[in-house]
Symmetry: C2
């Protein structure tokens, strides 16, 4: 018991000192949902809040990993340390994509100033999101100055994962018609920065105009004062494989950080995100507890059979489960 | 009390008789989360399970509503009654889209055999999903032979909403590159039927080939026996505004129904979906209860302040809330 506590405390200290192996071990503990992982986050949490956390979202195939690779290079050249957290979706198909991502980031594998980690979805997005947020805190505590969180997908659940980022970057490419439609319809929230990667495509400028018109529509319902104070979402063109446009992206990311710091928005954002995070963790745990308790529960099996036979409706079955006090 | 019970029972009877006003009232009760609504679903639930529930998903702007309108026309001509449930996303922008949808479906407004209803997202997708599933049960109980559920979006949460459908149709259009990438990467699950609407576009056939190659990849990991027994996902080309391809779509939908009936998959699917539905309702209620209890909770405010000040980590705050027994 004492030995364990000592080990943990050593792990925490090594993590705070920026030790990469300690960091890898710590994230594994969190990913495997081990109590020591949660203890560790608890211990190092007072040392978090310093990293600039940037979330990247967008459909698969637009080149998010390559872009993050190029950005990592730029940040390293400026002498900053980088952590990359890549959230992989749940399908068996993605093994290929994953391998590809790793290759794209491979030039940084030997650099001690870069820490790259993929986290796989083990079923419920709620659970992965929970672990990913903790992993981001660990990177922050380990002194990574820039933390890049990458998630694939354009739906609400995917965006929730990077919702605790200080800056949200939507990455598209020419042909990302669905995402532009989703922005237009208000299904997808307006991000802080929009990047059109693979911009060596003839339709890139048409796409920039289309996005610009969506963004101006989004501003219509604001007062002039509000609009003036508001961050103007930049639309950037990049070719990440060539490094083209990365310098400007770095500048815009820095500007966004200055903007949210000056406007007091960073604190406000973090307060809201931490509020949501506490609720999300509590809900995910309640759901997991419910599923565990029910997996071998004879009464639940009986209730479910009644539901299948159309003798008991799903909501009443849920009520009976909750009233039973699970 | 007796009067209320009588009213409810009358409403249930009128609903089972297929009365449109009773149906509208019942769905409103469920949408507003009124206890009478849940009571009503409970009462009529034994009369459900007969409708063919077909879910339509896909990015905004591909013409899902027009397609459903054309399909509704075909089903009415075959003498079947139809219910349409359209799930709208949460943004203020969507007022326009909604109005557009209504116009596209307007030719059916006076037809007693067609019932059309939009449901708005009131914040948490969990909550809306819960209400939408109940509304689908009400349409089923009211004797609608075909129930079409439409949802906008291509993420996991959006697909969860139509997950209780017997048949899932993914609607795309030429230019839906993001969705194809999502299918390819396995981020989006393979639907039962894929429709490429607005097929009068020169790139339609390229798109069909692309989707076909994604689908054949998805079959690679199956044994020849499994693959032979398996439903072959048809890729259909339609121009819903012209009614082109609708007849074939109707045939494929009927074939899919026959397939799942013959293979015993319908029962299996419904059992799995009902299982998930009970859990989803229970979780949504737990989360709502938690949020309500915490909204005015001084202790939660204090805990949150500690989290913001980095003195208490989010997971520990969640644990403290749960241990307190909320």
């Amino acid at each position: 018991m004492i030995a364990l506590a000592m080990t943990d405390s050593t792990l925490a200290q090594r993590l705070l000192d920026g030790d990469r192996r300690a960091l890898a071990r710590a994230i594994s503990l969190v990913e495997d949902d081990r109590p020591e992982g949660w203890e560790l986050v608890k211990e190092v949490y007072p040392h978090t809040g310093k990293a600039a956390v940037i979330g990247f979202t967008g459909p698969p195939g637009v080149g998010k990993s390559t872009l993050i690779g190029a950005l990592t290079k730029a940040r390293r050249e400026a002498g900053r340390t980088v952590g990359v957290l890549s959230i992989d979706p749940s399908s068996p198909f993605t093994q290929g994509a994953l391998l590809g991502d790793r290759i794209r980031l491979s030039e940084h594998f030997l650099d001690q100033g870069v820490f790259i980690r993929s986290m796989a979805n083990r079923g419920a997005l709620g659970g992965l999101s929970e672990a990913a947020l903790q992993a981001a805190l660990l990177l922050d505590a380990a002194g990574r100055e820039d933390v890049f969180v990458e998630t694939v997908g354009v739906g609400q659940a995917e965006i929730d994962i990077i919702d605790h980022a200080d800056t949200i970057v939507l990455v598209l490419m020419p042909g990302s018609g669905d995402s532009i439609q989703a922005l237009k319809a208000g299904v997808m929230e307006i991000p802080d920065v929009i990047v059109i990667n693979k911009a060596d495509h003839p339709l890139t400028d048409t796409m920039v105009r289309e996005i610009r018109s969506v963004l101006s529509l989004a501003n219509l319902d604001r007062s002039p004062e509000e609009a003036a104070k508001r961050w103007r979402v930049p639309i950037l063109k990049t070719e990440a494989t060539q490094g083209t446009g990365i310098e400007e992206l770095v500048e815009r990311l820095d500007e966004h950080r200055e903007h949210i710091l000056a406007a007091g928005q960073l604190e406000e954002r973090r307060r809201r995100n931490l509020h949501n995070e506490v609720l999300a963790i509590a809900t995910a745990r309640m759901r997991r507890r419910l599923e565990e308790e029910l997996s071998e529960d004879a009464e639940f099996k009986r209730l479910l059979e009644e539901v299948v036979k159309r003798r008991l409706d799903p909501a009443s079955a849920a009520t009976m489960l909750l009233e039973r006090g699970v």
